[in-house]
């Protein structure tokens, strides 16, 4: 049996307060330092976040599945050539690579809604969450026509370039968000009515924090459905559409 007094770390007698917050409180101490187990827990969470940034969008899997649903899907990339450039040059991540632009512009059919599945800063979040969410969302959107695009090295505003190249009315961009230690793989959805190059954030609506411990797929699907209906009714997106989140999620 281990003797308690042989352990050099001191526990904090307020561990009960942890029930009120997920902040790292009552960690205990050894000298002035954080006990090793807590240090390693922190490093593991950071490692998870770092790894999330370099995961890749599973384009073959997404394509196969969406084609099996009977929808067209295009594969595009931004002008950022690798991860390091992507991180340093957000401007390039907002522009379509020329070949991708040609590919999209070849298409003559138009769609009401283009869903863009983009890697962003955590592709794993999109690999995990996009399809199950779409399965709940699409049945809510009877009467609209859809097309799909996978986009790599993508920033949010790449959706404007894609939407305008495909001449669509509405873009819903699913993208991996910046990983936090407590939410390393979180997806966000940005919606834009009448997308065109050069729009700024106030013209978009955003649903954030779609992950295991955040917004679930059903909640997110309800929100996107609501935004689609509002945007098509008012022919606008962004700050002029007010979301009453509480009311919507309680429905």
């Amino acid at each position: 049996m281990k003797k308690e007094h042989s352990k050099p770390t001191i526990r904090d007698p307020w561990e009960n307060l942890k029930e009120f917050t997920n902040a790292r409180i009552a960690l205990g101490s050894t000298g002035n330092a954080i006990p090793l187990n807590e240090v390693l827990q922190f490093k593991f969470a950071h490692a998870h976040s770092k790894d999330a940034i370099t995961t890749e969008l599973d384009v073959p899997m997404l394509k196969t599945e969406i084609e099996s649903w009977g929808f067209p899907i295009w594969e595009v990339k931004s002008q950022a050539s690798d991860r390091s450039e992507y991180l340093k040059r957000p401007d390039l991540g907002r522009k379509l690579d020329p070949e991708s632009e040609v590919l999209l512009k070849k298409n003559t059919e138009t769609f009401d809604i283009i869903f863009v599945l983009a890697d962003g800063l955590s592709a794993g979040a999109v690999n995990q969450n996009a399809l199950p969410l779409l399965q709940l969302l699409l049945p809510q959107l009877q009467g609209y026509s859809f097309g799909f695009v996978t986009a790599t090295m993508a920033r949010v505003a790449l959706g404007d370039a894609i939407g305008s190249a495909l001449n669509t009315k509405f873009v819903a961009l699913f993208i991996g968000e910046r990983p936090g230690l407590s939410s390393p793989e979180s997806m966000g959805i940005y919606t834009t009515y009448a997308p065109k190059m050069g729009l700024t954030d106030e013209r978009r609506n955003c649903i954030s924090n779609i992950h295991e411990n955040g917004l679930d797929h059903q909640q997110a699907a309800s929100l996107v459905g609501y935004l689609v209906r509002q945007s098509f009714a008012k022919q606008i997106s962004g700050v002029d559409i007010k979301i009453n989140l509480k009311e919507l999620l309680e429905d």
Binding site: D12, F20, T21, A23, R89
Partner: protein
């Protein structure tokens, strides 16, 4: 006016002062993103040679952002102390660097010339200085401010207790406050970043914190880091000790934050009338950070470090209690890795101190930057040596609301211990009375019956 120099038969020329400043800057991704960085390593050093020869007087004749178009430029020019400037008026930027490092220049001398220096002069000289130089000179500065305690005296290092919660839950926030206080943090301020910047939520947070402060008679100040307009609305409805605002170095940057100089003046005057300070009336709290002007598309072709120094001219107009750069928060497109964050942190601290500001630092990084806790340990230790007024204290370094990593309560104890620093004197006494620290600054074992745990 253009500038040039010939080095080894190669002529390096620069069209104007702001391009010399930009190209002389140690490399960082934000200047490259803006298209302002030097094209080569040699061009960068050539720009530094050129900059070293530019007379300080030139900075009073050339504005890098037009006077008519930018109220920050007008503030800088109109408040320049020409009398104090006489002593250094014949210097070049290079002379200033050498003079600042000389033994004859001490704390008192540095305080005397603070207002003789424009932010552009200060940014310029910092670009010619190694990290060691930035530390040496900053360490000579002493900027002391007071509200309910005394912050910034030599040999002291204060901590902002940052008890953020992802849904603004008051119990969750209070739990982190108790944790921080029991680890000896909170003398700079107990300051919450709210998720929702609304009058009701911010008001409730202020009332909760003020109640804790009064119940335990804590010699410190509280703040919710909401928008200035929210504070103004709450002035007579909730206990406002400090008024917070993010600021930048150009009028357009400040417009992107929804403020201007007259709004800052109004908030400052309003808060002064509340008369809540017991020892002093420094009551503004400003946050800044390199890259904010580029991010707001409001940089006028001026490099991010010079824009940052210009924000300090805005800050010093309002006698703040606290100013800190949030150095690593902005992300890798502005400061890519631990090396760039470290350099920027030392520059910001140096520039702020030299301009007479009570400079602290949020030693921090995001997960997409190439940095980790080891880089933060390095920068924290360097800033401790440089005499930084305060740092952040976040439970276990992990801000669960803002999703980035800063320094922890434990980190504060570490840096105080290895550098023999103390809390603000009044707060130190409180920690002793509360049985949290002993008289050599070590933490005492906390019993479950401790007052802070029992009465909540």
């Amino acid at each position: 006016m253009s500038y040039s120099d010939t080095i080894q038969q190669h002529v390096y020329s620069f069209p104007d002062l702001k391009s010399v400043l930009a190209k002389a800057s140690p490399f960082r991704t934000g200047d490259a993103l803006a298209g302002l960085a030097a094209e080569s390593n040699m061009e960068r050093v050539a720009a530094q040679f050129v900059l070293s020869e530019i007379a300080l007087k030139d900075f009073l004749n050339v504005t890098i952002i037009p006077y008519e178009k930018d109220e920050v430029t007008r503030l800088i020019m109109d408040t320049h102390d020409a009398v104090a400037f006489q002593e250094i008026s014949e210097f070049t930027v290079g002379d200033l660097r050498n003079w600042l490092l000389s033994h004859e220049v001490d704390s008192q001398k540095l305080a005397q010339i603070a207002k003789a220096l424009t932010p552009e002069m200060v940014a310029a000289v910092s670009k010619l200085m190694r990290n060691q130089d930035l530390i040496s000179v900053a360490q000579k500065c002493e900027v002391v401010t007071q509200f309910r305690n005394t912050i910034g005296k030599k040999g002291h290092l204060s901590v902002r207790l940052q008890p953020n919660h992802p849904t603004d839950d008051l119990h969750g926030i209070a739990a982190s406050i108790v944790d921080g206080l029991l680890y000896g943090s909170g003398d700079a301020v107990i300051g919450i970043n709210p998720v929702t910047d609304s009058v009701d939520i911010v008001g409730d947070q202020l009332k909760m914190m003020d109640e804790i402060r009064q119940r335990f008679d804590i010699p410190t100040q509280i703040c919710v880091l909401c928008h200035l307009t929210t504070s103004l609305e709450l002035l007579n409805k909730a206990p406002i000790d400090l008024v917070f605002q993010s600021i930048g170095g150009t009028e357009k940057t400040n417009a992107s934050f929804g403020i201007n100089l007259s709004m800052l003046q109004e908030a400052y005057d309003g808060a002064l009338q509340l008369n809540r300070g017991t020892l002093g009336n420094n009551l503004m709290y400003f946050e800044t950070g390199q890259g904010s002007s580029l991010s707001a598309n409001a940089h006028w072709g001026v490099d991010q470090q010079t824009c940052e120094a210009r924000a300090y001219a805005v800050a010093r107009q309002f006698n703040p209690l606290l100013v800190n750069s949030v150095v690593g928060f902005i992300g890798p497109e502005y400061l890519y890795d631990g090396k760039q964050i470290t350099r920027a942190g030392l520059e910001d601290h140096f520039c702020g101190k030299l301009m007479g500001l009570p400079m602290g630092m949020d030693v921090c990084y995001t997960n997409h930057a190439e940095a980790d806790q080891d880089d933060m340990d390095n920068l924290l230790t360097l800033l401790g040596v440089a005499g930084c007024n305060f740092i952040m204290g976040v439970p276990g370094s992990d801000d669960v609301m803002l999703n980035y990593q800063s320094t922890s309560f434990h980190d504060a104890l570490y840096v105080r211990k290895v550098l023999n620093k103390k809390s603000a004197p009044e707060f130190e006494k409180w920690l002793l009375n509360m049985g949290i620290l002993d008289d050599v600054g070590n933490r005492l074992p906390i019993e479950p019956s401790h007052r802070l745990l029992k009465n909540l």
